[in-house]
Amino acid sequence: MLSTLVDLSRPGHYLHWGFIQISVANAVVIGLMIVTFVVAVVVPFRAGGRDR
C-alpha cells in the first residue's frame, strides 16, 4: 500500500504556482512543521513534578 503511494523509483511529483516550484515531499514536510508548531502553541505544556 505504502509502496504504491511512495514510489522512489520514479521521478517525484512537483507543485507549480507561478515561479514557485516545490516537490510534494518537501511541501508535506513543511505542512507537518506548520501543523506541529500550531499544535505546540495551542496545546498546554503539562509540567510534571513539583512547582519550579
Binding site: M33, F37, R52
Partner: protein, 251 residues
C-alpha cells in the same frame, strides 16, 4: 586482629575544591583561566536543579529533540565512516544505517526549524541574548552546508545531479575555486570533519550561552504589562519583573 574503631579517612582541605587557587598561585594562567570559567558559569548555573516555570514549554522540547537527532546523526555517521560507501549502498545493514543517518537529519532540521520559529516569535534575543540567537542562526546555516555536502557524498546519481547543478551557482559567486562540489574527496572531508565540527562547536557555544544568559522570559500578554507566559502561549498568571539582567542574574 587489631581493634580499629575509626576507619574514616578525612582528606586535607583542598584549596582547589571551590576553584580558588592555593596561596601564591593566583597569578598562574591556569588559576586565572579556572577562576574566569567558574565566575562565568558556576556549577549551579551550568547544571541547575530547577528552572523558571516558563521553561516548561514545547519550544525547549524541540530544542532538546534537535540535540537528540544530532547525536544520532553523529553516531550513525561514525558507523558509515567505518564501513564505507560500498557497504552503505549494497548491504542491508549498510542501507539501514544509511537510512538512519538520513532520517535523523530530517528530524534534526524539522525540530531545529520549529525551535527557531518559536524563539523568533518569542524575540529571544532580548535581554542581552543576541549572541545566543546568533550562534543558533549560524549553527543552522552550518547545518545546511553539512547536509548539502552530505547529499554530495552519497556516491549515486542523485549526488552527481546535485553536484553538477550546484557548481554553476557556486562558480557564479566565485566560491568554486576553493569549494569544488565536483571534487568528491573534498566534499566528503568537509562533510565528515570540518562542518560537523563547526556544528558541534556552535551548538556547544549556544548551550553554554543559554546557561550563562538564562532562558528568555515570555513576551507580555497583549494589553497587560509584563505578565508571565506558559509554553508558547502567554497568560495572565503571576506578574514578573522587567527584562532580566544582562548577565542572567535573574536565574
Amino acid at each position: 586482629m587489631s581493634d580499629i574503631t575509626d576507619t574514616t579517612v578525612r582528606p586535607a582541605p583542598d584549596p582547589l575544591a571551590d576553584g580558588t587557587p592555593a596561596p601564591g598561585d593566583e597569578r598562574m594562567w591556569t588559576a586565572r583561566l579556572r577562576g574566569a570559567a567558574v565566575r562565568a558559569l558556576p556549577p549551579g548555573k551550568l547544571l541547575p536543579d530547577r528552572q523558571p516555570s516558563y521553561v516548561a514549554s514545547w519550544v525547549y522540547v524541540f530544542g532538546v529533540l534537535t540535540l537528540g537527532a544530532f547525536t544520532v546523526i553523529c553516531l550513525s555517521g561514525v558507523v558509515l565512516i567505518l564501513k564505507g560507501p560500498s557497504w552503505w549502498h549494497e548491504s542491508s545493514v549498510g542501507l539501514f544505517f544509511n537510512s538512519i543517518h538520513l532520517w535523523s537529519v530530517e528530524l534534526f532540521f524539522f525540530f531545529m526549524v520549529l525551535h527557531l520559529w518559536g524563539k523568533f516569535f518569542m524575540a529571544s534575543w532580548r535581554g542581552n541574548r543576541a549572541l545566543t540567537w546568533m550562534t543558533g542562526v549560524i549553527a543552522f546555516l552550518t547545518s545546511v552546508g553539512t547536509a548539502f555536502t552530505g547529499y554530495l557524498s552519497q556516491q549515486n546519481f542523485d549526488s552527481q545531479w546535485i553536484g553538477t547543478q550546484a557548481k554553476d551557482g557556486l562558480n557564479s559567486v566565485g566560491v568554486g575555486s576553493f569549494f569544488n562540489v565536483l571534487n568528491f574527496g573534498q566534499m566528503l572531508l568537509w562533510h565528515v570533519l570540518l562542518l560537523p565540527l563547526g556544528v558541534a562547536v556552535l551548538v556547544g557555544l549556544h548551550l553554554l550561552l543559554v546557561r550563562r544568559r538564562g532562558v528568555v522570559r515570555p513576551l507580555p500578554a497583549p494589553g497587560r504589562a509584563r505578565h508571565r507566559g506558559v509554553g508558547l502561549q502567554v497568560s495572565s498568571a503571576a506578574p514578573v519583573a522587567e527584562e532580566p539582567a544582562p548577565d542572567g542574574a535573574d536565574r
